[in-house]
């Protein structure tokens, strides 16, 4: 395969990014760009919509049609855009708190509706931008600035949530597994329907520091050692499973809507 | 306001008074007059007091609700008790005497008619009491023509129940005519 020139898809004059040294979000940005490039998508036909948080700043750096929306609402903004422009590829980038706490209802409703959006949930298990508060993805017992005695709540299993809400494509990877991540995002973009890709990503400054996980490199190693491919699931007890966890064909919403409009054509203006 | 005629229909949610009001208002439009209709309902789709006002005028209608009703129809006791004070001094009150006990109040012109019973007897069921009442009102107010009301009924009632409702309406005309004749005969 020809080498991909990622710079072609970036707004280089907006760099450097606001992300902290060692943050995993940049790896996800690279993976998205490579997936878009491999699919040969025209930049004009790609939209990226995000909410609020560290990961949501990604939209500023990519040379697509971009919306930095309000906290938790990226999927709802994207739903309107997709219905207005069904021909566009709409990528929605969200953090874990953004997608699952404040935006949790939009997340499950978009999955249920099965609208053709590619939702990338960058899960660093904490609210980074606001200073390390616990999130609905923080493991039980982990420390956060607002859980100084350890988190009492259990975390969401994002793929299980997406699958049970009706998403036809669900995958999980990590920023350590960058090549695998490229492929999952590419498959998600190819999928007609609501695809969810959860990306475990390191926040060395808050989650790592508060939980004594060492440097960014140590955190990446943690992802290497504590996750296992779905193909080998069962071999690694207690490890998080990576892979394409759901891939099924279900009726997609914008196509269903267009079929409805077609079927009404000629019925006149009531 | 000059030329202003106010109708207040009150009963319980689900009795179809909003629909009766809509039919009456539409008939007024056919007749070329100005009309405004508003409703006052509770939260539920059924039960609770439901009131519809229809303001008819030759000219502009500003205040859209009843100030002093020229005609008041009450299908339930609650509705009668709630709105009886909103009737004009020379206003006409029709109560469904199957359900409402209207004590003869001084200065009030009350016509008790067992609307529900008549409907039940004539049609074998009482769901079209609203249309029967509308027939009665048409005859007693003469604010609209029978033809205009028939037209409006045809446009607004679902085909499935149109036959039944038309019958109820015609029966209402008949009852209304009889009452008018009776009232003319009565010494004033």
């Amino acid at each position: 395969m020809d080498a991909i020139d990622e710079r072609k898809y970036l707004r280089l004059n907006r760099f450097p990014t606001i992300w902290c040294p060692g943050c995993g979000i940049g790896i996800v940005l690279g993976a998205i760009i490579r997936a878009v490039a491999r699919l040969g998508l025209d930049k004009d036909e790609v939209a990226m919509v995000s909410g609020i948080g560290c990961s949501s700043r990604m939209v500023g750096y990519v040379d697509f049609n971009t919306i930095h929306a309000t906290h938790g609402r990226a999927l709802a903004f994207a739903t309107g855009l997709k219905l207005a422009r069904p021909e566009m590829r709409v990528i929605v980038v969200m953090g874990d708190g953004d997608a699952l706490a404040i935006g949790g209802n939009h997340f499950i409703q978009a999955a249920r509706r099965n609208i053709d959006l590619t939702a990338i949930v960058i899960n660093n298990s904490i609210y980074g931008m606001t200073g390390g508060q616990y999130a609905p993805t923080t493991p039980r017992g982990a420390t956060a600035t607002t859980a100084p005695y350890g988190n009492l709540e259990p975390p969401f299993d994002i793929p299980a949530l997406a699958a049970s809400a009706g998403a036809p494509f669900v995958a999980r990877s990590t920023v350590y597994h960058a090549i695998e991540l490229d492929r999952f995002i590419e498959r998600g973009l190819r999928k007609k329907g609501f695809s969810v890709i959860e990306v475990l990503s390191d926040c060395p400054v808050f989650y790592g520091a508060l939980n004594e996980m060492g440097s960014a490199v140590d955190m990446l190693r943690w992802y290497r050692d504590n996750t296992i491919s779905v193909r080998e699931a069962g071999k690694g007890e207690g490890k998080l499973v990576r892979g394409v966890l759901v891939d099924r064909d279900l009726p997609e919403y914008t196509e269903g809507y267009q079929r409805l409009v077609e079927s009404l054509r000629g019925k006149g203006e009531g | 306001m000059k030329g202003r005629y106010e109708v207040c229909l009150a009963g319980e949610g689900g009795q179809g008074l909003a629909l009766a009001g809509l039919v009456l208002a539409e008939a007024v439009v056919y007749g070329g007059k100005n009309v405004v209709t508003t409703q006052s309902v509770g939260a539920g789709q059924r039960g609770g007091i439901s009131q519809t006002s229809i303001i008819i005028s030759d000219g502009e209608i500003d205040y859209p609700k009843v100030l002093a009703a020229d005609l008041f129809l009450a299908l339930t006791q609650n509705a009668f008790d709630r709105y009886r004070s909103d009737v004009a001094r020379d206003g006409l009150i029709i109560v469904d005497s199957s359900c409402v006990e209207a004590k003869e109040a001084e200065g009030l012109d009350i016509i008790p008619i067992p609307l529900r019973e008549i409907t039940l007897k004539a049609l074998g069921e009482a769901t079209a009491t609203n249309l029967l009442a509308l027939g009665v009102i048409t005859e007693l107010t003469r604010a609209v023509s029978r033809t205009a009301i028939r037209d409006a009924v045809k446009r607004n009632l679902p085909p499935k129940s149109l036959g039944l409702n038309k019958k109820a309406l015609e029966k209402g005309f008949e009852v209304g005519r009889a009452i008018r004749a009776e009232r003319r005969a009565k010494p004033v």
Binding site: K43, D44, E45, A47, V49, V59, G60, D63, F64, N65, T66, I67, H68, A69, T70, R73, A76, F77, A78, T79, G80, L81, K82, L83, A84, R85, M88, N105, H106, Q109, Y257, L260, V261, L264, G268, E269, G270 | M1, L22, A25, E26, V29, Y30, G32, V35, V36, T37, T38, Q39, S40, V41, G42, A43, D62, Y63, P64, K65, L67, D151, R155
Partner: protein, 376 residues
Amino acid sequence: MKARVSGGAALMQGNEAVAAGALAAGLGFFANYPITPANEISRVLSRELPLRGGVFIQMEDEIASIAAVIGASLGGLKAATATSGPGFSLMQENIGYASATEIPCVIVDVQRGGPSTGMPTRPSQGDVMQARWGAHGDHPIIVLYPSSVSETYELTIRAFNLSERYRTPVILLMDEVVAHMRERVMLPLPEVEVVPRSKPKVPPEMYFPYEDGDNDVPPLASFGEGYRYNITGLFHDRLGFPTLRPDEINPWLKRLFGKIETNLEDIVWCEQELIEDAEVVLVAYGATARSARHAMKLARDRGEAVGMIKPLTLWPFPHIESIAERARRIIVVEMNRGQILGEVERLVHGKAEVLGVNRMDGEMVTPLEILHALEI
């Protein structure tokens, strides 16, 4: 539209007139969440929009509804939503977003008694200040308020027009009386000019979605048409990227407010009646204006010099201070605790006596109550 036609005259409901007006204005996208007393609007549009190739979608809540509306507007469609007080409260953050990012959209708020769940089926004018200041931070907004079914039709079209012309959210504020009232209208409904969205004429590399300068309202490119740009709720520069630089923020703010404030003549619509010789002037809007007009006519019949002012554009509020130079007394009639009363007092600045006639119990102010206030 299911028009109830007969010889040019028809009976139409206020909420149906919103739907008819929106369609006449070129509505392409409507998202909403069910709420009383606004439901008839979505009932009509869910039937009519798919027939016209437009999009109707019922979202999971009001926040999602307004968010989807903004997304669709960026996709190039004229977009709207409709709600009532509780849903309107939920929408505020994104209304502020649309104001700051200058994305055209129309929000219909059919008010109910409030606060809280309030009285879902009863009228109120309690959202007047929320419509102006509901979103956080200083922001421009346009609020229109009809008092009859035909006005509702006309103002709905106007709401879309102003929204497109000034790249701003426009709120069509209504009360339950007008929304549920059925009134005689003449068909066909009047032809009203429809303003299309202004699109950039420059090549993409020369496009600034937030251009400063003489052109107060830069054209808005639709997504997917070759103009790749960024939209953010953060304070942004000419290109739409976040900035904290005062030298970029100040020109933007100047333009953001200036596009409304320098075009008041086009935006503000206010009707005056019999005020030339009026000693007492009634100020009222929406259904309450009908009570006021009724009272005014009764008072004139009694020989009293009463006139009235009806703002159809509620925000920006019309400059009515000149009437204070003639009138002795101004009476503001509202179904709230005096939300416009305060605005009138501010404008009149002690030059005339200003009184309020107010109700917030779910009943209209009656003409009699206004006449009573005239006698004080």
